[in-house]
């Protein structure tokens, strides 16, 4: 319906009245339809869906009042103005009409200017009504969208938070969100050396923004723990990521714990969370770690202190962590739960019941819904030395990173077209402690092996083209063309750090789906030749290099031990030339 496009139904048993009212309606540019009885009015209401009705009260049959009542009922929530026309200006009749569902009334004889004015009024209201219902639709759509996004976000968070590290039998936890998302985050994982790492983070605010602020920390925590880093390095990296990624003023309180059951030590870094406490078997609190640092993301890397506090424990004990939502949970009188109450609940309970006892005490105290996110974590700390069978237990701190590492990559034709494989891998190598000193050498090895696999294994190019500058350009053009046309094939790269003959080595394996090539010929190429130099170079750089099968797979061992990165250890080969 547009401004001049209302359909007006005029209901009257007197033909003359209908004709006069119809004239007004049509003059105003609206569509006019008529009904001569209450029954017909009902029919027209259903068949014509009028935008406004002028209804005479006194009619034979069901009459105007009853017709109004039924139309109003049938119209439901749809807004349909009904204007009653009464013969007399009697108060009770007017009231009865309005009660039957009319919106306004006119008296007979009909004043045409008043009728005209009322049509305009109802048109204005109709337009308002329409705008309102449009907004309401938009709002509903927006709400549905927001709900959808929230569900997606929640399942994503759920996926990220619920990793297997949290199903560790030594761990119990509960996170009670104040809102759909919790800004509190609990994560746990074990290093290859069996140090148990636990993270409790309390992002500023609640809901999605707080949860989002925690996500970058979270991935860092899992990735670095998996590689065997100590918590000092982890918290340092987390802080620097937080500091660069999040807008100023956004930060998270964080507690990071490392339990080393081999050495019998617990390391804690606490920035802004309530003090975790350690209970011995008898229920005495033997240690608290008060916050000694600023929350994560506040300080720039150069001012940040990643130093954890180390505690050596004797027998099996239990460690409890909680966010400030627990300390500050209020009861009906506004009294906070407080750390003292929490500790008292823990001390009073039997060893096995401590976690439940703390939650029960909290729930009993709390008035109802959580005003803040509340997280509680309990960690079983085994007696020192219980895990001595573990061979790769790093020393307390574990700063040197892992001795073992294995990464595999599979690149399909599509990836090879669009991705500069070697620089991409190099960016990663630079971040791995065991490899970063050797990044330049590993880059060459990877470059040569991948170039061979791609250029010759998959693209079947002839490297003897590269004997002149023009040839170089021709080769580049051919390579580009062949690469664009490539539809099938793959290259697999495996990069491992391992010990071999007591020495730390990188093993680099590159395999392609091509038929292989005559690698024996490569060793015959002179130093100043313009092609075939790559493989000879890799051979000299590496500790060992060999082809497997038809030559579509090559394995290189590169020594990572100290000093190996310098020219020294490979120099004898060079002298032999």
């Amino acid at each position: 319906m547009n401004k001049s496009g209302m359909t007006v139904l005029v209901v009257d048993d007197v033909a003359n009245n209908v004709a006069i009212a119809g004239q007004v309606v049509k003059r105003m540019g609206h569509r006019f339809i008529e009904a001569r009885s209450g029954e017909e009015a009902l029919e027209k209401f259903h068949s014509e869906a009028p935008d406004m009705i002028l209804m005479d009260v006194m009619m034979p049959g069901i009459g105007g009042l009853e017709a109004t009542r039924r139309i109003r009922e049938a119209a439901g929530s749809r807004w349909l103005p009904i204007l009653m026309v009464t013969a007399l200006s009697r108060e009770d009749e007017v009231l009865e009409g309005l009660r039957a569902g009319a919106d306004d009334y006119l008296t007979k004889p009909l004043s045409l200017p008043v009728f005209q004015a009322k049509i305009q009024v109802f048109q204005r209201i109709a337009e308002l009504q329409q705008a309102l219902s449009r907004y309401s639709d938009e709002l509903a759509t927006y709400y549905r969208q927001a709900e959808e996004e929230r569900r997606l976000g929640a399942s994503l968070m759920e996926y990220m938070v619920n990793r297997e590290g949290l199903s560790d039998s030594a761990l119990r936890y509960r996170v009670t969100p104040a809102w759909h998302f919790s800004g509190d985050l609990v994560a746990a994982a074990r290093t290859p050396g069996k140090c148990h790492h636990i993270l409790l983070s309390d992002g500023m605010g609640h809901g999605l923004p707080a949860a989002m602020g925690s996500l970058p920390q979270f991935d860092t925590f899992y990735a670095m723990t998996e590689l065997g880093y100590g918590i000092a390095r982890i918290v340092e990296v987390m802080n620097s990521r937080m500091h660069t990624m999040m807008p100023p003023g956004r930060f998270s309180a964080l507690t990071l714990v490392s339990v080393n059951p081999v050495a019998g030590t617990i390391e804690v870094w606490n920035g802004g969370n309530p003090a975790p406490c350690l209970l011995d078997a008898g229920g005495s609190i033997v240690r608290r770690w008060k916050s000694r640092h600023l929350p994560l993301g506040v300080l720039p890397p150069e001012e940040f202190s990643a130093e954890p506090e180390v505690y050596s424990y004797d027998g099996a004990c239990q460690l409890f962590l909680w966010s400030d939502g627990l300390s500050e949970a209020e009861n009906a009188e506004g009294v906070q739960f407080g750390d003292e109450r929490a500790e008292a609940a823990l001390r009073a309970a039997a060893r096995e019941q401590r976690f439940d006892a703390l939650l029960q005490a909290l729930d009993a105290h709390r008035a109802g819904a959580a005003a803040d996110d509340i997280s509680v974590v309990a960690v079983e700390v085994p007696a020192p030395g219980t895990l001595t069978e573990s061979l790769h237990a790093p020393r307390s701190g574990g700063e040197s990173g892992s001795d073992r590492l294995c990464m595999s990559f599979h690149f399909e034709a599509m990836d090879l077209k669009n991705l500069d494989v070697v620089p991409t891998l190099t960016g990663m190598i630079e971040r791995i402690d065991a490899l970063k000193e050797h990044a330049g050498q590993v880059f060459i090895i990877l470059s040569e092996l991948v170039a061979n696999a791609l250029d010759h294994g998959l693209l079947r190019l002839d490297s003897t083209l590269k004997t002149s500058s023009e040839g170089f350009t021709a080769y580049a053009t051919q390579r580009q063309k062949a690469l664009q046309a490539l539809e099938q094939g793959f290259i697999e790269i495996q990069l491992e750090v391992l010990r071999r003959d007591g020495r730390k080595m990188a093993r680099i394996t590159v395999r392609d789906s091509g038929p292989g090539f005559d690698w024996a010929a490569c060793s015959q190429i002179p130093d100043n030749a313009l092609y075939g130099r790559g493989i000879a170079l890799v051979r000299r750089l590496s500790h060992e290099m060999r082809y497997v099968g038809t030559g579509n797979e090559v394995v290189v061992y590169y020594e990572l031990s100290s000093g190996a990165g310098a020219a020294g250890h490979t120099a004898p080969h060079a002298l032999m030339q």
């Binding site: 500069d420 590269k466 170079l537």
Partner: protein
């Protein structure tokens, strides 16, 4: 990779910055060709101070440059080679082929 060229009298310095590999071919060729065709320039220095990564096609380009310089009667010197770059030149016997400082 970025290439910056500076001239000082009859010496031209080609300063490389970044990753010197197959993809640098055109850039390197353009920069060196321009200098090789300049009569006033008799010495070319290639500065590796800002090069961390190099591959064998880069070495191919250096060998090509050496040949072209020879026919243009100009000399080539490789400067500031260190880390993996120095090691690679060492292993490839580039010392026998180039003047390395």
């Amino acid at each position: 990779m970025n290439i910056d060229t500076r001239k000082d009298g009859n010496t031209a310095r080609i300063v490389l910055n970044g990753r010197f590999d197959f993809n640098s071919h055109r850039l390197f060729n353009d920069a060196t060709s321009a200098l090789l065709s300049e009569p006033g320039v008799s010495e070319l220095e290639v500065d590796f101070d800002e090069v961390k990564y190099i591959d064998s096609s880069a070495m191919g380009m250096l060998l090509l440059l050496k040949e072209r310089a020879k026919s243009a009667a100009k000399s080539i010197t490789l400067l500031n080679c260190k880390g993996a770059v120095a090691q690679v030149f060492e292993l490839s016997n580039f010392r026998r082929l180039f003047n390395i400082k």
